[in-house]
């Protein structure tokens, strides 16, 4: 009986959290559709004009284009850089490998504000700060390691015997890569790609620190508008937020076709004793 109550309390907590979350998200949604909304349960009149307003006033077409371009570029480059490294780290043993893994781990562990400021400083010094290329390069810092760590287990699953078998049948290294490894790691590449995509679109700090007027992504533009609260009608900011939310949710839906939700956070393995 006590156990039942206890379980009930836990679910009530989860329910409370989810209701809160839904309240927060739907407030943005409802507000974006409101003509005016002052202290009533729902707005007295609805309109879709704020979307048109936001689209033209915030130059969202261009911002969205820049965001997509940056995100896709980060995905492609991170996979190209991460793929071979993940293969070696999954397959080979060498001294200093734990150190190498730690080095790849750090950009994911250290908060981006901490290394973002010196990184931005350096990039402005070499005149790539503020450019689209700069934003891509900065986002790659955590995303290359992310690609490595997502791809590694996929390589570990592929039996060495498959490669050896192909080699025994006369395949050279490139053929082994082209005919065996690449097809077998397609699920891994999709998983990594789609997670990097969501992460880059929603990544704030690094992009914020290194982007300039023409290289802002959607989330950074949103920040400036929320920050400047009052300058523009709040409904238009919410309309922009809804557009951002829709983008992320679409990508998330796509991501959840390849990964379980629990795969989206750090996984702590049991210590092996």
């Amino acid at each position: 009986m006590r156990g039942r109550l206890w379980g009930l309390a836990l679910y009530m907590f989860v329910l409370g959290f989810i209701l809160n979350l839904l309240g927060i998200v739907s407030h943005v949604l409802v507000s974006s559709l409101a003509k005016r909304w002052f202290g009533t349960p729902l707005p007295t009149a609805f309109t879709t004009e704020w979307f048109a307003y936001a689209w033209s006033n915030f130059d969202l077409g261009r911002v969205l284009g820049v965001t997509i371009f940056i995100a896709l570029a980060v995905v492609v480059l991170a996979l190209i850089l991460g793929f071979p490294a993940a293969y070696i780290l999954a397959r080979r043993n060498f001294r200093g490998k734990p150190l190498l893994l730690l080095l790849y781990f750090l950009p994911l562990l250290i908060p981006q504000m901490t290394y973002g400021i010196p990184l931005a400083t350096t990039m402005y010094r070499y005149a790539i700060g503020g450019t689209v290329a700069g934003v891509i390069l900065a986002n790659l810092v955590p995303m290359v390691p992310l690609a490595v760590f997502i791809l590694m287990p996929f390589f570990e699953q592929i039996s060495m015997n498959l490669e050896w078998g192909a080699a025994m049948m006369g395949a050279n290294r490139f053929q082994v890569f082209r005919r065996i490894l690449l097809p077998l790691t397609v699920p891994g590449l999709l998983t990594a790609g789609v997670l990097i995509l969501v992460n880059t679109v929603s990544n704030f700090e690094l992009t914020f620190l290194v982007s300039g007027a023409g290289s802002q992504t959607l989330v950074v533009a949103l920040f400036y508008n929320v920050f400047a609260g009052g300058v523009r009608p709040v409904y238009s900011v919410d309309a922009m937020a809804v557009m951002y939310m829709t983008t992320v949710m679409l990508l998330l839906l796509l991501a959840l076709r390849f990964v379980r939700p629990t795969q989206m956070v750090f996984r702590l393995d049991q210590p092996q004793r």
């Binding site: 998200v25 290394y115 390069l137 949710m249 956070v265 702590l268 393995d269």
Partner: protein
């Protein structure tokens, strides 16, 4: 993952080097070098010639600056304790599987992937004086007059909790449900009640996971930036160390001083990171939505 043992032949041949080198160079050039450069810069104050600790001395003697350390601790420590305790409680209660698992975890991933900016905008409205939260509580008579929940300390805590609780819960859930249930069952058959099982058997087994969760959440909250600006008082009660660093860099363009503040922030986070690194052995990255975000 296999690890090299002492005396084992290294398998790092030319091909392996060629494969690792591009990404390694990238991390070295874009992560390690700026970091070191930042430290170097922080020791070369703009107004002085040569190396000097002036930036650090200024930071720790200027109350306006050094109090950001206390402010940040004042946000990060309570937040970490609250987030990890709730997440642990929930993860332990749900270790044997959750009802509607996929739905619940999907919903919980939402705030992680939507990011803090969107959450902040929603919290401003939802918890604002005219938002649904107050409408309901005032309507029900629970409150006599509205509380102030945004543009202050509470607002920052709210957004940090919304963002980090799901992250910490999902991480701990994976860890706790990975503990072999027969260990718990055997304790029961040996005469241990549910409470004894928790603190004599499960707690010691969960300890490494809890420690890592603590360290991770602390490190993340110590860098709190956008939510401190959007939901707090960035010029007052929630002027965190990240804000101080940002202001020096992009408002006063004193990159040297900004770097020094970033280094100070990094040192405090390093303390948390050390815990992770010491316990890191079995910590595996699956994929990371929440990493490096606050």
């Amino acid at each position: 993952m296999r690890r090299a043992r002492v005396g084992e032949r290294s398998e790092l041949d030319a091909m392996a080097m060629v494969c690792v080198l591009p990404s390694l160079l990238y991390v070295l050039v874009m992560f390690v070098y700026p970091f070191l450069y930042g430290i170097y810069m922080s020791l070369r104050p703009a107004k002085l010639l040569g190396f000097s600790l002036a930036n650090y001395i200024v930071f720790f003697t200027d109350e306006w600056q050094y109090r950001t350390v206390w402010i940040t601790f004042g946000i990060a420590v309570p937040n970490t304790i609250v987030v990890v305790s709730f997440a642990l409680l929930l993860a332990y209660g749900m270790r044997r599987g959750i009802w509607l698992e996929r739905t619940i975890t999907t919903i919980l991933v939402l705030p992680i992937s939507l990011g803090v900016i969107l959450l902040a905008e929603g919290i401003l409205g939802f918890y604002g004086a005219r938002g649904w939260f107050h409408q309901i509580l005032l309507g029900l008579g629970v409150l006599k007059e509205p509380l102030v929940l945004t543009h202050n300390y509470i607002g920052v805590m709210l957004s940090l909790f919304m963002q980090q609780f799901p992250f910490c819960f999902l991480m701990l859930l994976g860890y706790v449900s990975g503990i072999d249930p027969s260990i718990e069952n055997s304790a029961r058959t040996l005469g241990a009640g549910p409470w004894t099982v928790f603190y004599k058997v499960m707690l010691p087994l969960m300890a490494p996971g809890i420690a890592i969760a603590f360290a991770l959440v602390f490190v993340m909250s110590f860098g709190v930036f956008p939510s401190a600006i959007l939901l707090g008082q960035p010029a007052g009660a929630t002027r965190t160390i990240a804000i101080a660093a940002y202001q020096q860099a992009f408002e006063f363009y004193d990159m040297s001083y900004a770097s020094a503040i970033a280094v100070v922030m990094g040192l405090f986070q390093l303390a948390g990171l050390l815990v992770i690194i010491l316990l890191r052995r079995r910590m595996v990255m699956a994929a990371t939505m929440g990493v490096g975000k606050r």
